[in-house]
Subunit: 310 residues, 6 copies
Amino acid sequence: RYNVPPSAEFVARVSGIPTMAKLPYQETADGLDAAFVGVPIDTGTSNRPGAFGPRHIRMESALLRAYNSGTRAAPFESLMVADIGDVNVNVYDLKDTCKRIREAYRKILATGCIPLTMGDHTIAYPILQAVAEHGPVGLVHVDAHADTSDVVLGEKIGHGTPFRRCVEEGLLDCRRVVQIGLRGSGYSPDSYEWRQAQQGFRVVQAEECWFKSLAPLMAEVRAQIGSGPVYLSFDIDALDPGFAPGTGTPEIAGLTPIQGVEIIRGCRGLNLVGCDLVEVSPPYDTTNTALTGANLLFEMLCVLPKIKYY
Amino acid sequence: RYNVPPSAEFVARVSGIPTMAKLPYQETADGLDAAFVGVPIDTGTSNRPGAFGPRHIRMESALLRAYNSGTRAAPFESLMVADIGDVNVNVYDLKDTCKRIREAYRKILATGCIPLTMGDHTIAYPILQAVAEHGPVGLVHVDAHADTSDVVLGEKIGHGTPFRRCVEEGLLDCRRVVQIGLRGSGYSPDSYEWRQAQQGFRVVQAEECWFKSLAPLMAEVRAQIGSGPVYLSFDIDALDPGFAPGTGTPEIAGLTPIQGVEIIRGCRGLNLVGCDLVEVSPPYDTTNTALTGANLLFEMLCVLPKIKYY
Amino acid sequence: RYNVPPSAEFVARVSGIPTMAKLPYQETADGLDAAFVGVPIDTGTSNRPGAFGPRHIRMESALLRAYNSGTRAAPFESLMVADIGDVNVNVYDLKDTCKRIREAYRKILATGCIPLTMGDHTIAYPILQAVAEHGPVGLVHVDAHADTSDVVLGEKIGHGTPFRRCVEEGLLDCRRVVQIGLRGSGYSPDSYEWRQAQQGFRVVQAEECWFKSLAPLMAEVRAQIGSGPVYLSFDIDALDPGFAPGTGTPEIAGLTPIQGVEIIRGCRGLNLVGCDLVEVSPPYDTTNTALTGANLLFEMLCVLPKIKYY
Amino acid sequence: RYNVPPSAEFVARVSGIPTMAKLPYQETADGLDAAFVGVPIDTGTSNRPGAFGPRHIRMESALLRAYNSGTRAAPFESLMVADIGDVNVNVYDLKDTCKRIREAYRKILATGCIPLTMGDHTIAYPILQAVAEHGPVGLVHVDAHADTSDVVLGEKIGHGTPFRRCVEEGLLDCRRVVQIGLRGSGYSPDSYEWRQAQQGFRVVQAEECWFKSLAPLMAEVRAQIGSGPVYLSFDIDALDPGFAPGTGTPEIAGLTPIQGVEIIRGCRGLNLVGCDLVEVSPPYDTTNTALTGANLLFEMLCVLPKIKYY
Amino acid sequence: RYNVPPSAEFVARVSGIPTMAKLPYQETADGLDAAFVGVPIDTGTSNRPGAFGPRHIRMESALLRAYNSGTRAAPFESLMVADIGDVNVNVYDLKDTCKRIREAYRKILATGCIPLTMGDHTIAYPILQAVAEHGPVGLVHVDAHADTSDVVLGEKIGHGTPFRRCVEEGLLDCRRVVQIGLRGSGYSPDSYEWRQAQQGFRVVQAEECWFKSLAPLMAEVRAQIGSGPVYLSFDIDALDPGFAPGTGTPEIAGLTPIQGVEIIRGCRGLNLVGCDLVEVSPPYDTTNTALTGANLLFEMLCVLPKIKYY
Amino acid sequence: RYNVPPSAEFVARVSGIPTMAKLPYQETADGLDAAFVGVPIDTGTSNRPGAFGPRHIRMESALLRAYNSGTRAAPFESLMVADIGDVNVNVYDLKDTCKRIREAYRKILATGCIPLTMGDHTIAYPILQAVAEHGPVGLVHVDAHADTSDVVLGEKIGHGTPFRRCVEEGLLDCRRVVQIGLRGSGYSPDSYEWRQAQQGFRVVQAEECWFKSLAPLMAEVRAQIGSGPVYLSFDIDALDPGFAPGTGTPEIAGLTPIQGVEIIRGCRGLNLVGCDLVEVSPPYDTTNTALTGANLLFEMLCVLPKIKYY
């Protein structure tokens, strides 16, 4: 009744076209409860480029199996899931690409399917334009950077500005926004004030996360977010570059993958209407960043509404 | 009427599931004139391993376009081509894998489809078992190694023995066999004698190829092979490791990619019944071996019977 | 009286044939208390290959010195140790390789020497066949995976099945077995039950290890294992891939090297009859996986019976 | 009287800020006969990205010395040369970047300085807008691709279209244009016709270059170009990817570095008014592409007008 | 009034000559409060070489911004800082290089400028010769190794001996010395005794740092060091090789970058007279070691005397 | 009667301690006709470091077999050959290292054994001091650089000066010296004059080698060298960096491996008294430089006096 990734007990891992988790590929989201989608851009990137993120995450996802041994979730017994390929981006014009993304997500969401997206962080803006069409949504934003700059190099659109644009357009319910893992050097002391004091975001600096489990934090986050719709946006650079070197603007002293998993597992029970895992940059991924991304996407799938647990 | 790779003029190269040349994927060869097939094994390998060859060649094939600007061939206006995925190999048992391959190719060939295969060199044996079911075939074998050892580590089956097995089983029309590019250190002086003197193969050492175009050689080869069915087996290690480092048993002072292209283009007019491009080892492919493999497979497609040229 | 690695105070680290810790090489285990042994296979591997594990661990072991500054152990003043090279594996037949391993270890063990082995995880099965010839043994198994599958791709022997085979053949004293570090996605919820409920293994999921010292756990393990013979099997993928990327089936959110060291140091006092460090895959070792393996093997040597501490 | 790179006989190569050839850095072109300039973009790129080309070429240029031992040119006894840094590109908007480039080059050219540029191929369009302000110029274009597409992904500006734009705007004297090294698969057979038959370009396919010295070709090119102003544009992908893997759209069976050097040395005597070396992509430069770029830029400097030879 | 790194909001990160943090380059320390200096040697290295440390740290430092979002320090509103390039080392004679370093630092210190140095650990000896000219100084030494060997390979000078030499020459106030992060195998048990018992150093083994914040330790260190002049020497191999693989003698189970940052931030209030970040080895830096070094140098700058905090 | 490398037909390539060609290791040259020796230094290097050359060449030499299929030489049926390990260099003092090398080679040569050395180019000087003890010798020097600088960074000894020192000490019979493959930028036009006009070397620039077989050149070289003793020194950077990227001072447009093999095979018949293959730098060897070095050393072995050919 559901699509299930082929088990490596019967089909060799090295075999097969690399869709996400080797799920079937279909062109649209019709009939799906959730879908993996790629948006292969990096034109929004300011430092190190690399647009094959979705492709490499798919490659590494061949190691994923059907069942979550940590949480006992069985996503492929609960939801109809497939890989619906990539949005056809315009690699020469970032603004046009954003329009293409917004239209593509309107169509996906119209089918009732929850998208799990791979891309760069610029895409959060047009995706949220589509997601928040019927009202502002909450946001769990895991990242080393706030991505709330106003203008960069004279431009309003880029991977450092999406959530500023979202606030301006009323796409976010700002009291139901949390940012986790922020750190690194900054342009000025003002940015923190704008987000926390003026907009009412909850901002959790990386320093507040050091040396401890984030399970207690996530209990607070669930209370903050409540039962309304919420979007989960996870920038892989939230993780320390020791674990995720393949990204464009790495900052040291970040979260561990354990904490990343805790954050996602801590979203269980929220009314998630979409998720993304962004900023995986294959040319700098000398170790296992894409594999980590694939696992985090699997963990996201495992906390979507209606997932069955053993 | 035919499948055509999406042009990068309209679909971004970075976008899409990585089938070969981004052609459609279909599960069987039904209705196809030619098909790309993967056999992702390396259990036949003696030195450096790497079984993701087909997957990486597909990844790099995103750069292929529809038309051959060197020969003016237009394969996708001539034949119905698709990617039919991988044979489901048994990575724990090489002998069982060989059986699976033979069966898979019997089915492919039964549809009248010409397979263009990616794998390791062990696979040439079971593929030729299928190809030669109705009689021995000629062979254009491009390689640094003769692959005619009798027994290696006590085993009859491996990537050093396929053509010995083929000769023993009468799968090859030995007067219509040519081996091009052989070189490197060897176990004994006997091997050369066995092939050339006893079996009647034409053996062209790499030294005979140095510093010159192979177009004249290929004219001789076409005369030798004649109009009967012939199989083209191209081991990427035929090329010098400066151009194709991603392989398991590299030998220095080999062919250039130019010569590799000349050999394939020189097969135009032959009655090709199957082709393979083998021994691409992604973990050692720090440069462009998989890309080279993708291009050589494209060149093979461009010399199949019935291809139209502008 | 004992073999001692040459000190870099007198012999340049860059100098010399790369045996393990630059110890003397000898062909057999005669006269040794402990020996480093390589079993360079990966034919049991299901995902990413790489058979040069022993060779690269030896290369990186040039940095090892004679004395353990963390525990004050002086292994080379306590035991006669050498590198006895590699088992001559059959890279084309995994079953035959297993026979060769069992025979080789019977000979090593007959001399009274304790083997410290480098290889893939398939080898635990034939090694334990030799080790347990005179009765079942306990097992400290550190790994991301349980390796207790019954059949994979139709095969009974592979790197996912060794401990299932060991249980079936009565090689393990199941109440004296502990598995530490298990995690990742799985094929089904059944595997956990089989091990913990039916066989009586103690299973410690990675989640139980997050954020804390494993010294208390190891006190419990020592109590569980008692004074009988015990084998230590350490799969490098027990460690988080941020620290050990060079392995075939990495799983995120694993143990830290600190915890790995704690586990081994926590085995001090146990009656260790053999140890292995497996699944180092050099082609994927872009950082220091082999070096980590070399250090963990040194830590194993430092907890063998009869080691002197300052 | 002239800037001279510090000799490694007196200043260690590893020492110093990495300007081009370790020449002095100055902010403008004032007082210079020639200048190295960087345009660090890759937003015009269609396949593999990498915008740090200028930075890495500068790094590798530390190996350059003052004198050309092949041609006996002494450029630093002939011209005042410096590194004038990078154009401040807008990484979020390619069209705005093109404007910035055009303005920057107008200023450079106004000082009488000849720019030697590092960047991607999109930049040839705005540079030639500045270069050809007082009339169309000739062009020696060395490349695997014609870069004369009309529209790609709906866009007029990108690294596949610059010379189409230049023709449309009358920037090129088309009878004094030569393209050398073209090859690979293409979108259609039409492109060749457009350039050769309609525009009157001389087009030299890579196939015409195989196996031979290009010195005779360059004698013909010098006759074709004559004494008028000419621009030299060298895409590193003209070279075979065995020699220059670090580029975005590599095509096999290309030119050798020897042939690349011959082409540049063959430009001696031409009235060169500007040169570029483009498409070096550091994340894919696992070997010596940037070093090759640095050497080719040095060879370009050695054939500028007024260079003294010993 | 002060030099400020160009903000990526106005100047693209990929643009510009790679000085440290893209600060202005000047030839001497005149007029500076603090300066970044490179000493590009590795002739003192015993295991893995790599002398381009300073160059690569500068490259990666392009990501640094002006303000420390973790501590709210604003160094570029507090001090005049520049990059003063590299000491011109003699790569063929380590002893002569040491003389050159000592002279260079005498000149830097004579201007009242605080040097922040990149190099290998050999350099700590000649730098401290210059720093301690007017009396012994305290030392915060963060490292995997004590670097207090007497003689290595018959030599007094190398990266394993600098602090032995410093003690012998009375450059250190030994009761105000702390060593943090020591671990790994050693030549003998004697070294620890020499430092702790005989010289009065405080020695903090890595094992004492495992699993916890080092903020409490640094409170003790500040009490130990008091208000006298102190030098901070940070060997990148203090960090676990999972985070900093690009170094010559990596030891597993080390400090995390979080702990490294805590140590440096814990030096706030000390009378720092110089700092170094050493042993970054680019050829082994497959991930982000140089980036980590750049960030640690920025953190050092942020705790110098007279820094303003928001 | 002779040592023979284990055939991969019986011993798996991945198995065994990595001596050169897996030959037996012995501590001295006693009883040998020829020996492989390592001198693991790079302190003579001016650009990119890397002292593990010998170790990596040994690793890659596992692919060598007993018989030369190109020339039909059977070296292991002709000479007694072994690997005698490395000279114990002083990595902290290049001058002391040179003394150690000279002494070591005096001992090797005293046994009548011909050394085949791996190292950096500095070593040619002390080796030739030992080799020429009974009179000057001829020299076949294959290299991108002349290595005849007088002083570099104030030093007489380094990898740029060995043959200047040899000339000064009368170690070379200058009319019997040939240098092949020289190219790249230079410090001044004087160096060429010094060698060719004043000393009487035959100097063959790389440009003279482009596009052609070097067999005719080697006929001339054999005539020039005659029957006296001659030393063969082959710097891997003679080869184009497309084939041998793993070296410290690569220069583009160099020799091909085919030409390298032709030069060595062209030495057949000369009275070779020693050979070296130098400047392999493993950290930069992303492809097959060490493998190429291993093959070239094998080719050198195959042209030593008294080799038998089939």
